[in-house]
Symmetry: D2
Subunit: 466 residues, 4 copies
């Protein structure tokens, strides 16, 4: 885009004696960012044309000419042939300018009763509504990939970690599904955000409403909005939907970062449970042996950036005094970037999961001999020892095993009894990991039958996020 300052201004000519300073013009112009709203502004403007025609501001001929002009402009954007001019301060003035070139005088009436304040936010809401629908589909596909993994990996045991220390064995499927449910909540949230987003601000004028008796309800229907804003001042100043979207993106980012962290760990040589497909790994310019989980690292890194985008917009919105302050021009760039980042990440994550290789034997071998210490305590509880005492006894068992260097799984019954007489011949059953997972037999637990039931729930949730 040219940053030359124009010598005349189609929008605010009359009151000004001199033209803008070129650097001020460049700073003020939002076209580099908001041109992305082109098709949505055309759509909003066409609806406005129909609405003010119905209110008697335009003749049917003027209306039809303007609608035809707008259709042509939409085609130009779609084909990439729309030519911007130096006087185009933003995408909205660019479209109005082009409309005048195509249709002539009637174009000067299009802005009757409308302000850029209500116009811009209408286009932004339309754009974001599409983006939201698109992202919902992408998150759903990642959920589907997690479901596929959970289906495929039902026979794989892995250590479950707390504090990055082995805690209890669990099904790998259980872990994949642990990352499914946060995404389920994300989609719930997104559906609720969409409702608040899908409200028409047009007809609010600069801040006080419009003098043109447009039918705002009809306008809302025309544009697919479910309701109209109840207060014109709020309508032009409200950016809750953008802040909500950025929070949604940041929290989704947090969820993805945790999944990413897990995959990065599990694909390290030290854990070794997973290997990424070559198609979703990268190498090193210096180290020939490297195979790096870049997609997951970028996911983790971008989750920080998404937190910053949210922070930035909230800080910008804080304490704004007017119905519209120019500060609000900062609302679109972070939303566009958040969308772009997530739109790029999500399909890569989904297919990275689908294509990775699981190493069940390495995962099984990784289980620490003392990972079933809790089950050993439960075993003592079943023998009538209170839990806190049982916990203490097993703590001593673990410490002795560590001191002697003999894994618990290789202890004899006598070894156990040397610590406490409640241990019996059946003690080794407490140390079988598959039996252990089967004992977590509550809803939400890692027992195989429970995980299978959870899988059913997940499949059902895929198409029913609310």
């Amino acid at each position: 885009m040219s940053t030359d300052a124009p010598s005349s201004h189609i929008l605010w000519g009359g009151r000004f004696q001199s033209g803008p300073d070129p650097r001020f013009w460049a700073l003020n112009a939002s076209l580099p960012v908001d041109q992305r709203l082109a098709l949505h502004d055309v759509r909003g403007t066409a609806a406005w044309v129909r609405a003010i025609a119905a209110a008697g501001v335009l003749t049917p001929d003027e209306r039809d000419a303007l609608l035809a002009g707008l259709e042509r402009i939409a085609a130009e954007f779609r084909q990439g042939t729309f030519a911007f001019a130096a006087t185009d301060e933003d995408i909205h003035t660019a479209i109005e300018r082009r409309l005048k070139e195509l249709v002539g005088e009637p174009a000067l009436k299009v802005h009757t009763g409308r302000s850029r304040n209500d116009q811009v936010v209408t286009a932004f809401r339309l754009w974001l509504r599409d983006a939201v629908d698109d992202l919902d589909a992408q998150v759903r596909d990642l959920q589907a990939a997690l479901v596929q993994r959970a289906e495929a990996d039902l026979e794989v045991l892995v250590p479950g970690y707390t504090h990055l220390q082995q805690a209890q064995p669990m099904l790998l499927s259980h872990w994949w599904l642990a990352h499914f449910w946060p995404l389920h909540r994300d989609r719930q949230r997104l559906a609720q955000i969409r409702q608040r987003l899908n409200v028409l601000p047009l007809g609010s004028g600069a801040l006080a409403g419009t003098t043109v008796p447009v039918d705002r309800e009809a306008l809302a229907r025309d544009l697919g909005f479910e309701a109209i804003t109840p207060n014109s001042w709020d309508a032009v100043s409200d950016r809750d939907f953008a802040a909500e979207f950025l929070f949604w993106a940041a929290l989704l980012g947090v969820h993805l970062s945790r999944l990413a962290e897990g995959v990065i760990l599990f694909t390290s040589r030290e854990f070794g449970f997973l290997t990424l497909d070559d198609a979703f790994s990268s190498g090193s310019s210096l180290l020939p042996q490297k195979k790096n989980p870049d997609g997951f690292e970028l996911t983790r890194g971008k989750s920080g950036t998404l937190i910053g985008a949210l922070t930035g917009l909230l800080s910008t919105l804080k304490a704004l005094p007017s119905a519209y302050d120019k500060d609000l021009q900062e609302d679109k760039a972070p939303v566009f970037r958040a969308y772009d980042d997530l739109r790029a990440l999500l399909p890569v994550l989904a297919d990275s999961l689908r294509t990775l290789t699981v190493h069940p034997e390495r995962a099984a071998a990784a289980l620490a001999p003392d990972i079933l210490a809790t089950d050993l305590a439960d075993y003592l509880v079943a023998k009538g020892i209170p839990f806190r005492e049982a916990h203490h006894i097993v703590g001593q068992v673990v410490q002795r095993a560590a001191a002697q260097g003999v894994p618990l799984t290789q202890w004899s019954v006598d070894d156990f009894r040397a610590v406490h007489p409640a241990f019996d011949a059946d003690v080794h059953q407490a140390l079988d990991p598959w039996a252990a997972v089967a004992r977590r037999d509550v809803p939400g637990g890692t027992a195989p039958n429970r995980v299978r039931a959870q899988l059913e729930q997940a499949r059902a949730a895929l198409d029913n996020p609310l």
Copy 2:
């Protein structure tokens, strides 16, 4: 709280050869923060006692003794007589320790099948559910104060601002209501957050579920939860509800900061539309004439702090690897502080609004002579001039008025006609502010009948936030 490190540990005694370093113990202990969960932990523990008794872990006598002990502990907390011990690492161990003092051996069984991971998050959810309900009532009361103001100030005209420049006149009531609707969205959001919050994690154990066959659905009913968590790993690691709450608080803070900014401006000598009551103002230690809007400034200041609280928790949650990492201990303090801040601010704001004085005459006198320039343009549009051209003509009118120092409202018809012949004898009607607001006669507009209709909507919304 004492920060002496205890010589023995009721929780993790067996495995450790030496006791903790006192500084490590002080760092690790969360009691100064989480003692606030006391009553909610007692409630959650009582439900757990009933659940494991039903599962056969406790005899009816043990159950009843434990429940009686818990009731007594609750009473001690309510009366402020509960005595903490140096070994109390957190509120949960304090309660368990006291329970053992009161009930003896059966207390050692309470933790059977439960982990602090699912215990803590259950108490936290119970606490936050109460806090959410409390804050909803407080926000509602602030909305009610705005409705009262809007009812009282229907006859007051004020300038409406964009870019902090006068744009169009509007009803002061319209402005009060402009701050009502963001709070309406806040209450919508809060109700939706409450649903996701009101889900039972207990029964998830450390991460993989519990081996005690508790009826988690019954447990949920006992504690008033509407659902149970579907995945035990997710159940103990999920802090979405805390992040959602902090986002909610931050966005509410942004809304309050915008209202505050408006009140701060309108109570300045230069604007002068409002005066705060002495009971909600403060003075200066040095400047005897000062009467400062401290409540609104603190609101604005704390809105920044709330943004930081959200940022902090999101950063903390990012990329956590395990089902439970100790990092999660940082989840409560920002939530407690956000609640406290809002709980202190909201009633002050509501009553500050109720008790302030409006100065209608100063507001009317403040209207700039050219504030109805848009209406002048609309007037020309009604005479058949396209909007863009009318806008340009009026721009010249405004510039000439400024150059000559004669306010537009004092121009003769001839003065107008000297700029453009389309101006006519009825031009002054376009410059009457009450007529101007009446012309914004669309839903959401500032026309008095529309504002009255909006007031009805607002009253209805007070008791129906969804």
Copy 3:
């Protein structure tokens, strides 16, 4: 840039059986962002060529051919004729690929002993060093504009505000200079950041150092670095300089936002002390009378965005485990954007200040009659009344004046004596604003002679930020 995934990879070919998925490739490629480093990477690579030639890795002929090739590549970037290829993953591989096209086999040796880890961060530091120097000059120019205003407005009295309530009169020059000193601290900070930034990481290899015996001190001199990094692991992972820069930008943004807020208020109709030049104002598409301070509003808005950029990078950096994790790819975009925003804002602010009009008479008329209440209290203190008591008496004077609607400046001596007998015939001298400012005669005070001395200090600081 094409996002097609290349079929072969010049960088990490050998170890991989299949090529990258196109979506993974698009996500992973950083060229859209880092192509901005082109000239700095060429410079860093040329220095590396000289260094490894000196270490015997290249013959003099190879070295000269490579340097000529790099010079030609630099020229291509400067002229905009450099053609990217689909295989160009980032700017560094693009340059290496082009170098091979131009020079052939020797280009394959350029990367000997170097890793992208140390290469990229070297180019980034070189770029940021230039950016820092550029921004320092821009901040200095804004300081110069403030000094010019302070020189021009020495005869203008304005109300000084605390809590946005009039507190005491002051020189407008004093207020301009109040915004000079934060920028002075900013330039101090920037100079200190530059020192930590200006350290050479090259020669650190991937993380452990290089096996080529390069003279790192000579390399540093070649590139204008003042020191070399002391630890290779830290050298490739350290992004302190980027975080420091973003904090610097955010704090500068806060300072600019406070200046902007002041100008926005002072140019409002209600304050009315300043009018912006047409060349640095914008109008409204709907409201013909509007003249909006968009440049200052964008400054304020972008200050929020800058806070977000800092937050985002810090969150991204948090808890990274390795010497280099791909998360670090997120480091450049926020730095580039912060630079671009500030580079656009600063000159507009400076010239907006230089070209605005001050209205001394409106400012003088705006002084509240009770703005000298403190001086009245000081007057009583001079008559022997303790300050706290004097403060209380004057509080009653102010309240009575407000109740009676008679401004203090119009009170008779008897009116004052009716409140307290210590008031005397000379009481009106205490209420003269010029006398009042003259009484603030301490270093840093608003007395005209002190402001003139401060102006001298400021002029001296312009060329001596440390």
Copy 4:
């Protein structure tokens, strides 16, 4: 603290007809937070007493009585016997109230020429100066612990990671030192912050300077400040020092989080290079075998909280309009919390490092057979093959080894020659890890002699952070 609203106000009595609402009073009162400034406010007030006595406002007797009273108040705070009153709005009014109780009338003169605006920020700067010095010592001690580790672990080889994949072997000492240098930069920054912090604002009055002819330079010397603020408006509104401190804390937090992440990984069973001492580990209430790195996890978690503290203050400071706005009351709590968190973390980290156990044999065993692939490529380069080609050949070697399941270290020379004829009988020398680290023989590299030299540098830097 009582939150009852007092019926009278020693500070702003005269102008107000009614007392404050109790909820407003509770919100407004800052005593719960700022009582921490008690001793520093006493010190600042004593200096002010000396200064205004020198200016003739107090007689020598009054001065001495006041100083004695202040000394007694300081003693009361030190002994914990100071009694707060319901009228104590903040620590400053509490001290003034007590002073009047102790000394009588002269106490009413103490506030002559001073405002709470310059008083509070003086006490805050004094407090923070002490905190900064304390934290510098703590960071230094952590550096000392890293140096001790580096000295102790010079014989230990560990894998070096990029992307959490093994990249090259390195000395464990090198890794400890990699965490030393970020702390060195932190101390550099802190020393520079201290300089900007150590500037006297007192004598600036509410915003415009004071009418009492105090000698501000002498006052600065009395309080140990190195300079005086040059502009009174800026002096009372400037909170750069608090923002700088919070950024410092956040960036230090990032550094500590990276160290923590490394230790958490290395103490996991899967890596297994380190074991924490029992005194710096914690166990689990459910899992008897657990030994968790809670101190390091809290460090990582609090690093998120610190980022939020910074964000919050920056957002609060943004766009404040006046010399002093009540929003600034939010400045202290995050600074106090950041200090407390770091003060608790740093000694635990230092002694956790000092007391942990290193497992050299496990670390050596963890080295992947292909970790020396780069050295194999360097070997080929030494045989005359260009680096890029060598890299490709070694990539094939690695892939073949993985496919055949034979570690590189077990390949015969013929195996190597089957891939490329340049491999020779000496190929196995390239695969010796100690030889490999020795080859990184550049300043900052991991060669043992270089690490020893680096250790010297580090030791020198301990006592010379600038």
